[in-house]
Amino acid sequence: MRIPVDTVMVQQRADSFARRSIKTESKQQGLRLALSMIDLTTLEGKDSPEKVRSLCAKAINPWEGTIDPPLPSVAAVCVYPSLVRVAKHSLQGSSVAVASVATGFPSGQYPIDVRLNDVEEAVRAGADEIDMVINRGAFLSGDFGEVSDEISRVRGVCGTAHLKIILETGELETLENIRIASELSIRAAANAGPIKDGEVFIKTSTGKISPAATMPVTLVMLEVIRDYYEETGIRIGMKPAGGIKTAKQALHYLVMVKETLGNDWLTKSLFRFGASSLTNDVLRQLVRQHTGRYAATYDFSEA
């Protein structure tokens, strides 16, 4: 199962994506694409229904101004389970999905029954997507069977909700661990039942641990997705989360997805950005391409 990963060359390849020059038409198109792929996220202890409502409004209509053609909504709003109902209500009739973190996010340090119950509650409240965390403690102590079994059980209670499996790569540390965890997660999800394209994602981070998403980490995960597709014909999704703050970074990620998996993956049903501050930077660049000048940061609403 262990496939070696060479950090130096992964870094070199990841750097090469950031050297692509994305200008004019392709920049415009790329930024719109990035916007449509954002999971607008709030995961704080102080989150309130009102905060989630304003986030949902932003998600549906990211910018108040007019631009032709109209800007897309973001892909989803990502909240804690207790706020799923609020989000679901606010997003009614829109294309924006409700994603809920679950399984004792972010640590996952709870009994399995509690974690499964957490997922069931979120699904019952109307979550379209579940962002689960894997059991890193078990993974690092080498108990892959337990990690795998838990993932299968979580997928088993997801119902029709899509599943995103958070590896928390900052805690797994090495690229080899990340490769193993990615493979293990995909196979465990598949064990619980057949996967349709985009029903299962692997995701880098909770955003609570640093480092979160990086280009090399995401590249290794994309390569696992590519290999799994070659083997089975099934398209697994990818979600880097945390640390992607600028439009330029987002474009680098899209270049990496395009050159590793191909244009097929350049859709919100197979690729997401877990981010919040990214939205306004993307908007700022988009508006700049439209008007020819940079708008002030206060010209864009905070959610």
Partner: protein
């Protein structure tokens, strides 16, 4: 926008991103002799073209016998003062050249790409920065030479004739000039006839920094000019980078003349991938090994040896990876492979591809639909079902053409890797440290890269064994060909 539309993948393509700066090129480019640009006494000129669109860029002077003679005499005249100059003062000039290369980096990169066909990404990120680094590095040695050769008395070799190839024009000029100047020699540099422009910009830089007249002379021309230069009786040393064929001629012509000689010649380097390697990264190594600079690299990893158990996986991943390589306008910042340097070279490469097919190897290429209609183009490609006896497995192609072969045991990999008249470089890919050392010490190659390929640094010596030449460039070892050593212990006071 409906939900359904948003789910459809978009055909996201990169818009053209051409380098916008226009670089001025003189219509007539003269010779640089004794600190001045002079018209050739030969009255002969030749044109240099842009290989990506076949348009003429400029006329270049063709140095004849009288011109070469003037250049050599200028170098001879400048030698006493330059060689006796305090090392730290020589260093000052070299530092100035290095800094000026950095300051004019963008112009040099664009020119290199226009004249040679290599992608701007590579001239900008590899060629020009490394050229500057070489001058910086050898500037550091200029006042420390006695520490490089402790207990010996040192003196410069004298007048050096330096003949360089077209694959890394400015970088090769830097490899040759920097150590020679640091050691107190004077030089006559002859660039390749298809790529003279950046060497002549370097001449401008040499003027700007006030290097004493005659210390560096640059004579442009084809093989004949090089022959006249190498055979000139006042020349003390010949340094050549280029084909093994010309290298052999030079060895004959300098034999018995008392001239020192260093040769950096061709290669057919083995890139060996073991089953326990990090495969995805090894595939990156294949790419940078053979497709870097359109394969116009003497140390290109043109013979790929893959352990039999993983060969189908490696081939499949290689094919996949080739799809994202972008061939096209070298001035576009997103281009990965530019144009083949010349029509003649394109013919050579195409001939080898035909031979490969004729001899029974299986040809693979990813078709690119964005190749320009004019210019010299060759898609990155590779051969499978290659036998070690095939021409494409033995001869240097100097293009983006890879020969894939297999092995079963480390010993077999070694035997096959060493079964070549060349011995320039090799690559080893394995996650097992002990295997790296075991292999590296038995491979007959001057440079062995482990889990990487085509990495260069001014501090690292480069050079080959067997028919790949002799002498080292770069590092402390790169000083040796430009120094005459005496044993101080044997000298009378």
């Amino acid at each position: 926008m409906t939900t359904q539309e948003q789910h459809d993948p978009v055909g996201w393509e990169y818009s053209p991103a051409p380098e916008q700066i226009k670089v001025h090129i003189e219509p007539k480019n003269k010779l640089f002799i004794n600190g001045a640009f002079v018209s050739p006494k030969s009255r002969s000129w030749f044109s240099t073209i842009n290989p990506s669109n076949e348009q003429k860029l400029a006329d270049i002077a063709c140095a004849g016998k009288a011109d070469v003679n003037n250049a050599v005499l200028a170098a001879k005249k400048a030698l006493p003062k330059w060689s006796k100059m305090c090392g730290s003062v020589r260093a000052k000039y070299l530092y100035r050249i290095a800094r000026r290369i950095q300051e004019r980096a963008r112009e040099l990169a664009i020119l290199e790409t226009m004249d040679g066909g290599k992608p701007i990404k590579e001239s900008r990120d590899v060629d020009i920065p490394l050229a500057a680094q070489h001058f910086f590095y050898y500037a550091g040695w200029a006042d420390k030479l006695e520490y490089a050769f402790p207990g010996r008395s040192i003196s410069p070799v004298g007048v050096c004739a330096q003949i360089i190839p077209w694959n890394f024009p400015l970088l090769m000029a830097a490899w040759k000039l920097a150590p020679a100047l640091a050691c107190g020699n004077t030089c006559i540099l002859k660039p390749a006839e298809t790529t003279s422009l950046t060497a002549l910009r370097l001449a401008e830089i040499i003027q700007e920094v006030g290097l004493p007249e005659g210390v560096v002379n640059i004579v442009t021309g084809a093989g004949d000019t090089g022959k006249i230069l190498a055979e000139h009786k006042t020349v003390n040393k010949v340094a050549f980078t280029g084909s093994t064929e010309v290298g052999k001629l030079l060895m004959r012509s300098t034999a018995g003349s008392g001239k020192k000689l260093t040769l950096e010649l061709g290669g057919k380097s083995a890139n060996i991938i073991f089953a326990d390697a990090a495969i995805d990264q090894a595939v990156e190594g294949i790419i940078s090994g053979i497709y870097f600079n359109q394969g116009h690299v003497c140390c290109a990893g043109s013979r790929l040896f893959v352990e039999e158990s993983i060969v189908s996986e490696v081939i499949q991943k290689l094919k996949h990876r080739l799809q994202s390589l972008r061939v096209g306008d070298p001035l576009d910042k997103n281009t990965d492979l530019g144009a083949i340097n010349s029509k003649a070279q394109l013919k050579t490469v195409q001939q080898y591809i035909r031979t490969g097919v004729d001899e029974g190897a299986e040809f693979h290429e990813v078709h690119q639909d964005r190749l320009p209609s004019k210019g010299y183009w060759c898609n990155p490609c590779f051969f499978t079902e290659v036998q070690p006896s095939h021409t494409i497995a033995r001869e240097e192609i100097f293009g983006p053409v890879l020969s894939v072969m297999t092995f079963r045991t480390p010993q077999e990999a070694l035997t096959r890797a060493n079964n070549s008249p060349y011995g320039l470089a090799a690559g080893i890919w394995t996650d097992k440290g002990s295997k790296i050392f075991e292999m590296a010490k038995q491979i007959d190659a001057g440079v062995v890269w482990c889990n990487t390929y085509n990495k260069f640094d001014a501090a690292s010596p480069f050079g080959g064994f067997k028919e790949s030449g002799f002498g080292r460039e770069g590092g402390m070892q790169g000083l040796r060909p430009y120094i005459r050593l005496q044993n101080t212990s044997g000298r009378m006071k």
